[in-house]
Amino acid sequence: MAELTQEQVRHVAKLARLNLSDEQARLFARQLDGILDYVEKLNQLDTADVEPTAHAAPLRNVFREDVARPGIGSEHVLANAPDAEPPFFRVPKVLDLGDSGA
């Protein structure tokens, strides 16, 4: 795989919503590059006919019955909110129209 560029690092940082200083971007690029080099070794293995294990336990069909229970109350919901205008959470004005990204 190609070396991890700082631009790629910045792109990933953006996806992950992490501000990085130039120094951090450089450091992370180097460190992540080293780790990615290391994980390359997985390509030594032929996994063409191997099923991926996406779930740790072989459980299927785990459901709960459709019974409603009251919420914990808006007071408790907002208790740890950094910025609230009860009964709402408050965030900087969101500019996009319509439904979120979905």
Binding site: K14, L15, R17, A54, H55, A56, A57, L59, R60, N61, V62, F63, R64, E65, D66, V67, A68, R69, P70, G71, I72, G73, S74, V77, L78, E85, P87, F88, F89, R90, V91, P92, K93, V94, L95, D96, L97, G98, D99, S100, G101, A102
Partner: protein, 492 residues
């Protein structure tokens, strides 16, 4: 093919629909699944996305989706799982949405919709389950937005069709039919104003110019609050894309699909702010949720409980019971009401009278109360009796309406009401004849006018009829009154 100037074109519409499922509790936690409550009052640590919480799947949500998928004749996946769709937004407490990506619950179905008196088949590409986002409120706020998590985690069913719809009318018909369907299945109230059914048409055109076919870029339209808005928006898009193509010749390419919002006030779609980067949702299987392998026994049980679909039931009510296309919806759109109608038939109601009563006073009372006819406090048997009473001539139509009103107020049989209130129609000719004679004797001028012609005659006849009805306190059989009056007038 349609024409616009020297272009011929075909409209292509595919729909993406999100339907809010009417379960008691949310998709992954037991919070109440309700609309309109105090903000943030139906929230728990799970739907708040608190550190350490885990989702647990609501069985009924899966069942409702399964029911819908079977009604749409979809293939049900033998193995289905949930995936995380990762993106950051304040209406997404975990900053990922639990949805389904590559192995949805159902695929490859069909829905029939009525188009110009025929049934058209629309292919369903897929149907899956996901959780809804919270609500963001901006109105009246300048520098901030408010977040209400009541809606976060409520169950949504997403349905995607193939681009099989060929006009705004068809898109409207599809939306209407789907709405009827999910209401029939009891899986959603599908109230668009409350956001319980959200329709997003993907619109483009196939334009033929100088023997070559071109496809315009696809536009996805959001923010439609009603079926009418859907229709108008598609119509607008068609025109806009025609104009755009004439102007720029731009065609559909990888990645040039746009998202547009419907502006009801302007009656136009508006290009939405370009997102800073194309979304990379980094889907991966949610490790917190066990995959589902719907058991054949379960599938068969749900399939066996499917009702007759509204599109077919409507057809049958028109053909079997003589409803007009215009009126049949009054009785068929609400499943319980259609069931009530058929129960009343089974209880011996004569079909024409019953149908008339349903679309006249029963519908009126239901509308006044803001409920479907099935929720009126009158059982099927009594409705049947009342219809039969009119057919047998025991009461006339006007009296029946009066009796109906009383039936709503008290828990009494219509027959009993009629007898008690002396509303039983008098069909005894000799009794009526007595009244007719009295009226004729008392109104010589009217008698004279009634023997003339034209408007004067009609008016006088009507007056005389009215007098007889009045004298009989509305109980005289109008047909007999009419016959006797005519006979007497002719002979006078």
């Amino acid at each position: 093919m349609q024409s616009s100037g020297n272009l011929q074109y075909r409209v292509i519409v595919g729909m993406e629909i999100h339907i809010h499922l009417a379960t008691e509790s949310k998709m992954f936690c037991p919070c109440p699944n309700r609309f309109g409550d105090e903000p943030n009052s139906n929230v728990c640590p799970v739907c708040l996305g608190s550190p350490g919480v885990l989702p647990v799947m609501n069985r009924r949500a899966v069942e409702y989706a399964l029911r819908t998928a079977l009604a749409l004749k979809c293939e049900i996946a033998a193995f289905t799982k949930w995936d995380r769709k990762n993106y950051y937004y304040p209406d997404l407490p975990k900053n990922y949405q639990i949805s389904q990506y590559d192995l949805p619950l159902a695929q490859h179905g069909v829905m029939e919709i009525p188009v110009d008196g025929q049934l058209k088949t629309v292919r369903i590409r897929r149907l899956h389950l996901e959780e809804d986002a919270a609500k963001l409120l901006h109105e009246g706020l300048v520098a901030a937005s408010h977040v209400d998590l009541n809606r976060a985690g409520t169950p949504l069913m997403e349905i995607v069709t193939e681009p099989d719809l060929a006009s705004a009318d068809e898109a409207h018909a599809f939306g209407s039919e789907l709405r009827s369907l999910v209401r029939y299945l009891g899986v959603s109230e599908a109230n668009m104003q409350q956001g319980q059914m959200r329709l997003e048409p993907n619109v483009n055109l196939a334009i033929v110019r100088d023997g070559q076919e071109y496809r315009t870029p696809i536009a996805e339209v959001k923010n439609l609050g009603s079926l009418r808005a859907l229709q108008r928006a598609v119509e607008f898009e068609v025109q806009r894309q025609l104009d755009e193509f004439e102007r720029t010749g731009a065609t559909m390419q990888m990645g040039n699909k746009s998202t547009r919002g419907w502006d009801e006030g302007r009656g136009a779609t508006v290009l939405q702010r370009e997102k800073e980067e194309a979304h990379d949702y980094r889907y991966f299987p949610d490790p917190d949720l066990a995959p589902v392998t719907p058991e054949p026994v379960w599938i068969e049980q749900v399939r066996s409980e499917l009702p007759e679909l509204p599109v077919h039931r409507r057809r049958r009510f028109v053909e079997q019971f003589g409803f007009s296309e215009k009126d049949v919806g009054t009785v068929v759109d609400d499943r319980a009401t259609a069931d009530l109608f058929e129960r009343a038939l089974a209880a011996g109601a004569p079909v024409r009278n019953l149908a008339n009563q349903f679309i006249s006073f029963w519908a009126m009372h239901a509308n006044q109360r803001g409920v479907p006819i099935a929720e009126l406090p009158v059982p099927a048997e009594r409705m049947a009796t009342l219809a039969a009473m009119v057919e047998q001539g025991t009461v006339n139509a006007t009296t029946a309406a009066a009796i109906a009103e009383k039936m709503l107020a008290e828990d009494t049989d219509p027959q009993a009401i009629a007898e008690r209130e002396n509303l039983v129609q008098v069909s005894d000719s000799s009794e009526i004849e007595k009244l007719v004679d009295e009226v004729l004797a008392a109104n010589p001028q009217a008698v004279a006018d009634a023997s003339s012609e034209g408007k004067k005659q009609k008016k006088a006849f009507g007056f005389l009829t009215g007098q007889v009805m009045q004298k009989s306190r509305g109980q005289a059989n109008p047909k007999i009154v009419n016959e006797l009056l005519q006979k007497k007038l002719r002979s006078s």
